[in-house]
């Protein structure tokens, strides 16, 4: 039997990993309500004074060589779930301050009909402090995602339904990974390269999910403490 994971063992493992690999800074946004616009603007403005944008090619180079070639260190601006306010509130600020947004999209959320989106969010761990859209649309649309994609932001996969993969049967799990990738191919015209699932298990922690992630063709797996490049381009 393997030893139980304790705080001490986890800390030692992570200390070893952090000390032996390049680190990158990231900031994780979820719902970005209109009322917080000035706050986000200040936050991203502060970051822009000290950090550079990161796209997937730059990330690949950094993972491969450990060398960073921009004048300022990189900052990954992650935007989770696929909220409408990501597009309407945060995206203009990301662009104003010269960053690349990494949009982690739950395809089931944006595929949900508008009248059901709030209910879907409530049942899929998609948190919102505010409900400010009277028309009921709380998710991004594929048109908006295509525009983001066209502007060189990163569109990335956050599974189909934002549920724990480890508890799913094989067919459902396959849909969560390969099915969602298929939707990106259909709507964006190309596969996406980066993947993360709910709670952020790393590549190597679950062989079943690993096989699906490989089959779907993802290059990067993000998790709570690391980014893994799992395939050569």
């Amino acid at each position: 039997m393997s030893e139980p994971v304790t705080f001490r063992s986890r800390a030692q493992e992570l200390e070893q990993e952090f000390g032996s690999h390049p680190l990158i800074r990231a900031v994780n946004f979820h719902s970005t309500s209109l009322g917080q616009t000035a706050h986000y603007d200040r936050q991203l403005g502060e970051y822009a004074r000290a950090f550079s944008s990161v796209n997937e090619d730059e990330l690949r180079e950094y993972l491969t060589t450990g060398a960073w070639h921009k004048a300022k260190p990189g900052l990954i601006v992650s935007v989770f779930e696929g909220y409408r306010n990501s597009y309407e509130v945060l995206t203009p600020l990301i662009e104003k301050h010269g960053f690349v947004g990494w949009y982690w999209v739950i395809t089931g959320f944006i595929n949900t009909a508008v009248p059901q989106q709030l209910d879907y969010a409530e049942h899929h761990d998609i948190d919102m402090l505010t409900h400010e859209y009277r028309d009921g649309r709380y998710a991004l649309t594929w048109d908006e995602l295509r525009r983001l994609d066209g502007k060189r932001h990163v569109i990335a996969c956050h599974t189909r339904s934002h549920m724990l993969l480890s508890g799913m049967d094989a067919a459902t799990r396959r849909e969560e990974v390969l099915g969602s990738q298929g939707e990106f191919k259909k709507h964006l015209g190309h596969p996406v390269r980066s993947f993360v699932s709910l709670t952020g298990p790393a590549y190597g922690e679950d062989p079943t999910t690993d096989r699906l992630v490989e089959e779907a063709g993802f290059e990067f797996v993000f998790s709570n403490f690391r980014i893994q490049r799992i395939r050569a381009a």
Binding site: L14, F80, G200
Partner: protein, 145 residues
């Protein structure tokens, strides 16, 4: 990630810790000047003693306990690991001094957290990473403290 990051457990833990240590601790202004470094952070020889690390950690956890995870941008660090088979034969990438500094800070603060809470669950490591990231480029930036 977090939600590479899922953060609910972190929030709950931070709130619990904040409840214990928040007396007399005021929330610092967000827009403090960032304590950003390209590479080297504070040298290990200048690292604070165990008591100081613990006191600092208690204060910072209390400060972070008040934030709304679903409505804020949360700073984190991510280790960049290349496991692509085609690169497996390559020599390991030399980590920057920055990586080693953050690892050292994690060691010191992890020990402090175990002293504060000997029964700490493994999941508490997430909030330590958040504290370190907030100190480096977030609202706990040292330059403004």
């Amino acid at each position: 990630m977090t939600k590479p990051p899922r953060t609910l457990n972190r929030r709950e833990t931070l709130l619990a810790v904040a409840g214990a240590f928040s007396a007399g601790v005021s929330l610092p202004a967000w827009a403090r000047r960032l304590s950003l470094t390209r590479d080297a952070e504070r040298p290990l020889s200048n690292a604070p003693s165990g008591d100081a690390v613990e006191r600092h950690l208690r204060e910072d956890l209390a400060r972070l306990g008040e934030r709304a995870y679903s409505d804020e941008g949360i700073p984190v660090f991510l280790a960049c690991v290349n496991v692509a088979a085609a690169n497996a034969h390559r020599a390991p990438v030399q980590p920057p001094l920055f990586s080693q500094s953050i690892a050292a800070q994690l060691r010191a603060n992890g020990a402090a957290w175990l002293h504060i809470n000997p029964e700490a669950p493994a999941t508490d490591i997430s909030k330590l990473i958040e504290v370190l990231a907030e100190r480096d480029f977030g609202r706990l930036g040292k330059a403004g403290a």
